[in-house]
Symmetry: C4
Subunit: 333 residues, 4 copies
């Protein structure tokens, strides 16, 4: 017979989410660790932080945004010069076509915006001088912003972690354990890495559905150095809030694991943080991870194979001897 | 009969404020969390941090300051060129009007300050060359400062928290509790959020008035994640320094709550902090907060309604069975 | 009779300084908190961090350095153009005097360095084109460095604390205490401020002189908020390593107080730190601090008088009942 | 007879390295503290953080990279102008030689890239205007990146520590101790410095070789201030996992010391970290460090001789009375 839970497992109330499943929709945390949440009641522009949106944008999108900004600003100012009359810009040849005249205005605009200012075309009237004075000012400010944005993107502290796509219920010391693993994929080095795993369990209670949150106890909460890979292990023993859960119980309660990793990164000399989550669909019951590092052929160093981060093979796990109902009865008696 | 205070509640001396009410004026902490304090005995320019003042300025004020700086610097240098004589700038047409001549100097100045330097107008004499050399140098330094300032504004770590306008004395587990709530209003995510609430209570003692400071014990001091809203709760039970305070007692002692929230923000990968305070005028006696989040109609996510942050309805709270005087007698006996 | 020391006071070995007075010279820590230390055995340029030296430079010195750099770089490139021959710069009028020719080269240099590039003077030959191409490149890099330097200066986290010029031995709860005080002088706000005071005491032991280091126990090691002033108090009671020291004992042992204050600053959202030290010459025996804040006349706020930070008046302190020798005998028995 | 180990010494599993020696190659940690590790399974460009690679590059390499970038970008754009035809750039004299024509395109390119734009040469056709507009845009973005990179290099928090080249087994309080020392070599000041030493010991167990990791207990784990030098001491007493190891045992087990130092630096107001390691080849058995600081001749300050950081002299150390086998027997009995 299995040992009953030694510790009374309390669900925690300070998870940042509410206990009432009925008012929350979908998964709580997205795969990238952001909360599955929409905010209303405030205008859009007050709810968004533009700078950080640009900071978190993908590289391609970011450069396209910059390019579009450059093009549209030039088009805008070119239109103004064109409307004022390009004859007020000295040095422009009397082109026949209107398109040519607009193009000249466009190129003059770009020379002003970037402050290259060759001067073979130059503002001649008060109106064009004034617009050009404004445009060069705008240009300098815009590139001051871009400088800050680029620096911000470069120096945004990130953990550069990859997680295994799946969390496993694996054999562990004669019993079972929840496992997932992670590794850094850049030339960065994390120290004092700390993992925190919260399980959200959906429980039917009379007519309504509640969400219980449990902080899962880990084999190691902290590693001194995240040099190779780190397999985070939560033993499904009698102290676990998920003790006694069979495969079906896990499915029924739609378990969601919310993972947060915090570490000190020597690239940034700063604390970095990454989050992810595993829904029940990303949980593989009965599997074990395969090794992902080996000695180099010449023996001079160790090789870490990042593409094997999720490599696992089926492995039998013992069923819990007591089912959930028995266990709860025991705990409450 | 109510249970007397189990713990001896000591007022704290390390609040940063003095214990003597007579030497302090008005509320201690402003609504935005800054201290209601004026410093003297040092010249103004040594007491102010210009950079941080510009950093904390509203967006509109900041851009207007930049624009004014650009305009006035141009006016200054334009005046110098004008005084030297615009005929020492080659390429300037012999305009009739003095105003036109000044305008030409102004536009030349702006072309120099922004380093656009078309060159259709250029310094011709030693004097104008020297001034132009200085101006372009000033221009580059000024925009270096602006670049830094813009970056500083963008990256200034902020918690982006809104607090409920009112703190409530609400019904709580058969008794009463002080409550207020907060939520993040941007697309940011706070983790390890920690709240600290200090109560300043004004007490008449013989001929003088003292200020006692109490650190209030909270239901949860820390939440792992501030995803939805967080209602901070201080139970007004027998362990509270405010136990036994009736509505009138609270009014008489002009209770002021000083609130500080600290968290780790993933936008900035930095500790962020926000403060606020509640004076007795912002305290609602006998009310409860209304829910501010619900499941989205399509069930795929949760909706947080920021405009309901202060939504509350009247709710009866039990009066303390022992009044303040009785309780103090009990504690001291 | 006085109570003997209740705790065995051990000197600490991890102060960062050595225990042997004979190998250390002068005061250990300077008034500004830097260590009174010179490093040798490595070339000067490897021992200095240029960036941080420029960061910590006074404002005046910094701007003069920038100005000198601009002038000397221009002089250098002007000399190169002059040596190549200014006739290889088109647009330069055939001036008679050599000085005028050099000035023209100088102004062309400044137009290139700042990238203003009017173009009324422009490089005509391969040699001058090459030098100008180099100079504009140098200019951009130089101003990139200046931008970084300015931003670094603005955002260098500083505590902006002033300390009382003197530490006092003041009357305290019927006994004596070491006291000094501090306040922030800018519009900044420190929270979670923590003080650490180490006493270095010089002791003659047989033929050599040793330095003992003691960590002094403070009335409050931490204050939640450093809003007004903070008087740091070390009671000279029976638990103090300086218990039993008379005025003469303090003088004889050349006591030096090394002070470090650490806090969280909301300007910088960063930990700030400031250090200072008090030698025996800066210690006033028998004095008490005068109040430095009062209620504003209109009662709306509190006024903190920074110029009173060191204000103190003479105050009698009781002599220790047991002298140093007696006490040591007691402790060791 | 020696005292047997008082505490059961467990090897630690959270070192970030695996326990199986057979899959790891060479030393675990390089002399500069980086892990001796190669990552595969992801494309190179995803595994590298360009920004941080440029940040950690030596000064010489960095400036050469910048210079090469400038040269190649100019060559690229010069080629484009040349291919379009330099006759579409107005102001270019009809040079005879093709090389001269290319040089003119090159210098025009550099004037555009740096935005100096004299204008004596200027784009005349749509094609050249378009390329020039693109180039000036590229120039501004490139120098925005360089500005960020320079600032990043300047402000990258570093501990500026030098370590002794060797770790010593030195006489210590009648027994033996492992020692190495460190000092800051710049004008920086570290406070709250913390050292962590992990020993990796290779142990033959039946047919395979295991790596055991031990966290070594230090005389002082933390020093308040790293003003002078700090000698880190691990006593090889009965509580050490290396107790009983003779010189030969140390050699046989190929002991590797992995050292991490963390401190608060007042230059950066940030936590700085430096790592290093000592393999068995860098361990000197039977030696003691020589003093590395002395009083200045004029007595006004202390002199720290950085070139003596590794200075040591031979010194006899007592052999352990019990050898490794005896001790293990004792511990396990």
């Amino acid at each position: 017979m299995s040992t009953p839970r030694k510790v009374k497992v309390n669900n925690i109330d300070n998870s940042g989410f509410g206990p009432n499943s009925n008012v929350e929709g979908g998964r709580l945390t997205n795969k990238d660790g952001s909360t599955n949440l929409r905010k209303t009641g405030m205008p859009f522009w007050e709810r968004i932080s533009w700078f950080h949106t640009l900071l978190r944008m993908s590289r391609a999108k970011f450069w396209i945004s910059i390019l579009l900004f450059y093009t549209f600003t030039n088009l805008l100012f070119a239109s103004i010069y064109y409307l004022i009359g390009v004859d007020q810009l000295m040095g422009i040849d009397g082109h026949d076509s209107e398109f040519h005249r607009f193009l000249d205005a466009f190129f003059f605009s770009s020379q002003t915006l970037t402050t290259v200012g060759y001067g073979h075309v130059a503002p001649h009237s008060i109106a064009t001088s004034f617009v050009a004075s404004t445009e060069s000012f705008v240009g300098i400010l815009a590139f001051a912003i871009v400088t800050g944005m680029l620096y911000g993107r470069f120096t945004r502290p990130r953990a550069y972690l990859i997680f295994s796509e799946n969390a496993l219920v694996a054999p562990y010391r004669g019993g079972r354990a929840l496992m997932f693993r992670m590794a850094t994929y850049k030339n960065n080095h994390l120290t004092d890495a700390e993992a925190m795993v919260t399980a959200a369990v959906h429980v039917k209670e009379k007519d309504r559905e509640l969400t219980h949150f449990y902080s899962l106890k880990l084999e190691y909460t902290k590693v001194n150095s995240l040099a190779l890979s780190w397999t985070v292990v939560h033993p499904l023993d009698e102290n676990s809030p998920l003790a006694g859960y069979t495969k079906q119980d896990l499915l029924d309660s739609r378990v969601e694991l919310i993972v947060a990793v915090k570490a000190f990164d020597d690239h940034f000399s700063n604390t970095v943080q990454q989050r992810t989550s595993y829904t029940i669909n990303e949980l593989v019951y009965g599997a074990r991870f395969l090794p992902m590092f080996h000695r180099a052929e010449d023996g001079s160093h160790t090789v870490l194979e990042l593409d094997k981060i999720n490599a696992h093979e089926p492995a039998a796990v013992p069923e819990p001897e007591l089912n959930l109902a028995d266990l709860d009865a025991l705990t409450n008696s």
